[in-house]
Symmetry: C2
Subunit: 341 residues, 2 copies
């Protein structure tokens, strides 16, 4: 059935590691909440016929994790993620969501939706799954090597998104770096620190160390895509390992087991807070359209959250407001235009 909702999004119907059933269930959950979903995937396997607010555009082809994403996206116009991105570009949908190959999703979004004026490098941002206040963290994998100017751009992109979508007023931005062990850190980080320190239009809060990330006092933390990717996955892995170790501790003897049972409801809330699915995935910032990359391993709730995040970005006109914030005054524009670095 064709969606007639306030916001309609385009969902890549391939790539969810838990299978088509789980992907379909995620779409159903999001549609039940009022989002229109156009799913580009195999009609039969998805079995979404008649689901309210959902339209399936039968799409057999997909891009796998083992393919070169840029080559595959360029060559295969019929692949689900490429068709979904084209759907957004054509104005049929307001946002792209994929839980398949992150590389392919980034390539499809970048080619299909194009970059905002002045943006050299789109960056992948996530809300860190940490206890308490969520921190927007970027880049988590779009750019493994960066120059100082790119880090400055990430700061502007992150601050704009934080203000526009997360409704943080005057978001503060930190730059991830190392302690005194390494003297002054990487060259591009030192330079970015200098540039951000004098950039008007940004609330630069200085350096953030790895140890501060899980409980950062800033709203946005900026780093390169290599460090960011390692850090995000490490954070997720550590939270999981510690939660598992708490579980082991609770099974270590009968008294601890009773304790674990009594503590369980309170810990379940924490576990939910720490679970990567809760935040709905990563957003590719710096484009003229909205693109959300969900976890490949997401369950139905995680997929639904990715769809909801994308819909929310569309509802608040994240792209338009980001562009406006970037253009506001000479500061953002100057930093983004950069020195050609």
């Amino acid at each position: 059935m064709a969606p007639s909702r306030a916001v309609t999004v385009a969902l890549d119907g391939h790539g969810a590691e838990q299978g088509f059933d789980v992907l379909a269930e995620g779409a159903r959950l999001a549609a039940a909440g009022g989002v229109g979903v156009r799913v580009f995937g195999p009609e039969r396997a998805l079995d979404l016929g008649g689901a309210e607010g959902i339209e399936v555009i039968d799409t057999a082809e997909s891009i796998g994790n083992d393919e070169d994403p840029v080559l595959a996206v360029r060559a295969r116009k019929e692949a689900s993620v490429v068709r979904a991105a084209a759907d957004v570009a054509a104005g049929n949908s307001a946002a792209l969501i994929s839980c398949g190959s992150t590389g392919a999703a980034m390539a499809a979004a970048t080619f299909g939706l194009r970059r905002l004026q002045g943006v050299q490098r789109p960056a992948l941002a996530v809300q860190l799954p940490v206890p308490g206040k969520p921190v927007l963290f970027l880049d988590v994998g779009a750019n493994v090597e960066v120059r100082a100017q790119h880090l400055v751009q990430f700061a502007f992109l992150g601050a704009a998104f934080s203000a526009a979508v997360l409704e943080v007023e005057g978001p503060s931005v930190g730059l991830l770096t190392v302690g005194e062990e390494s003297g002054k850190g990487r060259e591009e980080v030192v330079e970015a620190h200098r540039l951000l320190g004098k950039a008007p239009g940004i609330r630069f809060a200085g350096s953030v160390e790895g140890r501060d990330l899980p409980a950062a006092s800033v709203d946005v933390v900026v780093t390169d895509g290599f460090t960011g990717n390692v850090a995000l996955k490490l954070l997720e892995g550590t939270a999981k390992a510690v939660a598992a170790a708490v579980g082991d501790a609770a099974r270590s003897n009968p008294i601890a087991a009773v304790g674990g049972l009594l503590l369980k409801p309170a810990l379940d809330g924490l576990r939910r807070e720490l679970h990567p699915d809760t935040t709905g995935g990563a957003i590719l910032l710096g484009l003229r359209g909205i693109a959300v990359v969900g976890h490949g391993s997401s369950g139905a709730e995680g997929i639904a959250n990715a769809i909801r995040l994308a819909a929310r970005c569309a509802e608040v006109d994240a792209v338009g407001r980001t562009a406006a914030l970037l253009a506001e005054g000479g500061a953002g524009r100057g930093a983004l235009a950069g020195d050609g670095a």
Copy 2:
């Protein structure tokens, strides 16, 4: 009283954030276990007169965290960490331990103890404070920028230390990198992967992602000092934040509180396992002498553990065995001599 112990080490008597009392107590704990300790610090403040196995060499001067470590170490021969390193170089002590400025400790060790033949860049290694099997992780801050050849050296240094000191037979080595998000990762990492894949004399296990680090199936994980420093501190910070959140959960209601009490003894073991102090600090690998850098924030037990780690390295002749393992066959030598990269 002059130590007459199997192993005598040189302890920087300045720089412990918790103060001279805690540093002195750490020295006492280690000395009680049979290690001879020569402490280079302020005799009056340390108040170690008459402590068995401990000798204080009155040293007023110290290098702070706010100084340029290389310049300070070069200029100030009377600074405690420089004197302690000189004590090792002179053969009076078998290892250097400092809980002060990591940069100063690294500079003092590198200048004072010199590099092993063929080693271009000493690297800082730690045993990760994770549940279960400890993983040796390097570089955690000595080299913020590296070339492929340096990463290969780190693999050999880590494997040699793992075999010699941690008694791991045929240790496996992983290379920290990112997932498919970033295509093929940083250039130097891709090249190091290629070099390690064909290096005889090393059990290369391929790539390790951030999420695998807390429960790595390999014995040694290698990365650059920027990523490694961020990752180590993030791991420590996340473990701490999650542990704190578990505590909050246990205080959230009376039933959970009872559960928390019953679970406490089991969780205390885990907390100890995750605490950075447990592993005793970082070891600077690739030198002709032993240098251990403890956490500045260490308590007495953490300082004692740093001293014990250093003493253990001396007892098993970590340096000699590392040098021998590196020289063994053409592989290690070839990789270490490198291509001048």
